[in-house]
């Protein structure tokens, strides 16, 4: 079952060109416990390719991508 938004770890990486949303997500995943959910917010178009690719490669789960005005919310669950 997915966690409610209030239980998720929110990583607001909007406007982050360096180090960028993917690095914010990797930081968040490294700090999270197995089973926890994170949301990384990104306005960077490149995140739509980078984040799903890395999440799959690193063995975690992308629960969804929610489009908002000017940015997207990537919801990720730490699996290992």
């Amino acid at each position: 079952m997915a966690a409610s938004t209030s239980q998720r770890i929110i990583l607001d990486a909007r406007g982050s060109f360096c180090p960028g949303p993917l690095m914010e997500l990797i930081r968040g995943i490294r700090q999270a416990k197995v089973g926890e959910e994170l949301e990384v917010w990104s306005g960077d178009q490149g995140s739509k390719k980078d984040i799903p690719f890395w999440v799959q490669k690193a063995g975690h789960q992308l629960l969804g991508v929610v489009e908002e005005q000017g940015y997207a919310r990537f919801i990720v669950k730490k699996l290992k």
Binding site: L11, D12, S16, F17, G20, M23, R30, F53
Partner: protein, 377 residues
């Protein structure tokens, strides 16, 4: 008399202190800066200690000499921030009360977090580390050099790719480049953190035969087998390993229960007030603000904090906002460099790689002591 306490005598803390002496009358506020060593260190110079024999002593100055006379310097270590009581306790038992606190403590290197790191890896993220790396490079006669980062976040995101370029230049000058295989492992989807600049760096890597692997986030190091493995499932061999050590936020922040799980201080990315306490500001590497952990970010953030502290103490509405501005130079070797400037709204538009930005970096290294900590620029 109001009291402002600043923790940390790096670039950010020093600029805040000096700007406050210009903006606040002596009868308005007492300004105290606490620093563990009383020494100010120019960290961007470390890479030149490793690769170019920059003398380590040139990168360190007495903090007292950089501060305006009005700033009271306390050499000591803050061990507890009592946010509710608005007090900071130092290791020697001294207690400092504050009306506004500025946390500018930087990031902490934590090599013990990665088993095997100390035995296996070299780095250039401290003066001591850079001096050891310099010796290792002098002794190196050929083989595979791996450059990577132990974890994220880390200070100065472009530094590892800059180091890969510096290695190529170093071994070329030494005449053994054909005996050295340079392999760069990036935690991200590209070799350079800034997407608009990445194609330029990829061209440099291709031209100088620097190999790269992307999506490599280090999971473990084996000093006996001389291997590095990633959480993505790859393993790479090395003869010489240059790895940025793991980082955490400031110890006193963690031990005062103010940090997140990595010890980073949750901070509003615009106002630079800490999210839990509006009377505590934070800047630079010790925060969770999503910009590069760099002196340039701390420099620009310091100006915002100085303005906000003045407004607070005078009972005015603080309106200063940090716009995410960061500016930096990278040295690609062969007297070529590149500069980047960006903020939350504007991605970098890189100028071509060239002599001008290489000279810009050298110039900044020289004028830093006169221009930056003083708050002149």
């Amino acid at each position: 008399m109001k009291k402002v306490v600043i923790l940390g005598g790096g670039v950010g803390g020093t600029i805040v202190a000096n700007l406050l002496t210009k903006k606040l009358r002596p009868d308005e506020a007492e300004i105290t800066l606490v620093d563990k060593t009383g020494k100010h260190v120019y960290q961007p110079g470390f890479v030149y200690v490793a690769f170019e024999h920059q003398k380590p002593g040139k990168l360190v100055r007495d903090e007292r000499r950089l501060l305006k006379n009005r700033v009271k310097l306390v050499v000591g270590e803050a061990v507890k921030i009592d946010a509710d009581g608005k007090k900071v306790r130092l290791a020697d038992g001294t207690v400092l009360e504050y009306d506004r606190l500025v946390v500018a403590l930087g990031a902490r290197l934590t090599p013990d977090e990665l088993p095997g790191y100390k035995e296996a890896a070299h780095h250039f993220y401290s003066l001591e580390g850079a001096v050891k790396l310099r010796q290792a490079l002098e002794d190196f006669r050929g083989g595979k050099v791996v450059v990577t980062v132990a974890s994220v976040p880390y200070k100065c995101p472009p530094a590892p790719s800059e180091a890969a370029c510096q290695l190529d230049y170093y071994f070329t000058k030494k005449g053994i480049r054909d005996k050295v295989d340079i392999h760069f492992l990036s935690p991200l989807s590209r070799v350079f953190p800034l997407e608009p600049v990445n194609p330029v760096v990829e061209q440099v890597f291709a031209k100088h035969n620097i190999r790269s692997t992307i999506f490599f986030n280090v999971e473990s190091v084996d000093p006996d087998k001389k291997t590095v493995s990633s959480i993505e499932g790859e393993t790479v061999l090395y003869d010489l390993l240059i790895m940025v050590p793991p980082h955490r936020g400031a110890k006193v922040v963690e031990e005062s229960g103010l940090g997140d799980r990595g010890g980073w201080l949750p901070t509003d990315k615009f106002t630079l007030r800490t999210k839990a306490h509006a009377d505590i500001f934070a800047l630079g590497d010790c925060t969770d603000v999503p910009v590069s952990k760099s002196g340039a970010a701390a420099h620009f953030q310091a100006k915002v904090i100085a303005e906000s502290v003045v407004a607070d103490l005078r009972g005015l509405q603080a309106t200063a906002k940090y716009d995410g501005h960061v500016m930096c130079y990278c040295d690609a070797g062969y007297h070529k460099g590149i500069s980047m400037s960006f903020d939350y709204e504007h991605p970098p538009v890189p100028p071509p790689l060239g002599l001008k930005d290489w000279m810009g970096k050298r110039f900044l290294n020289r004028v830093y002591w006169i221009m930056v900590p003083t708050g002149r620029v």
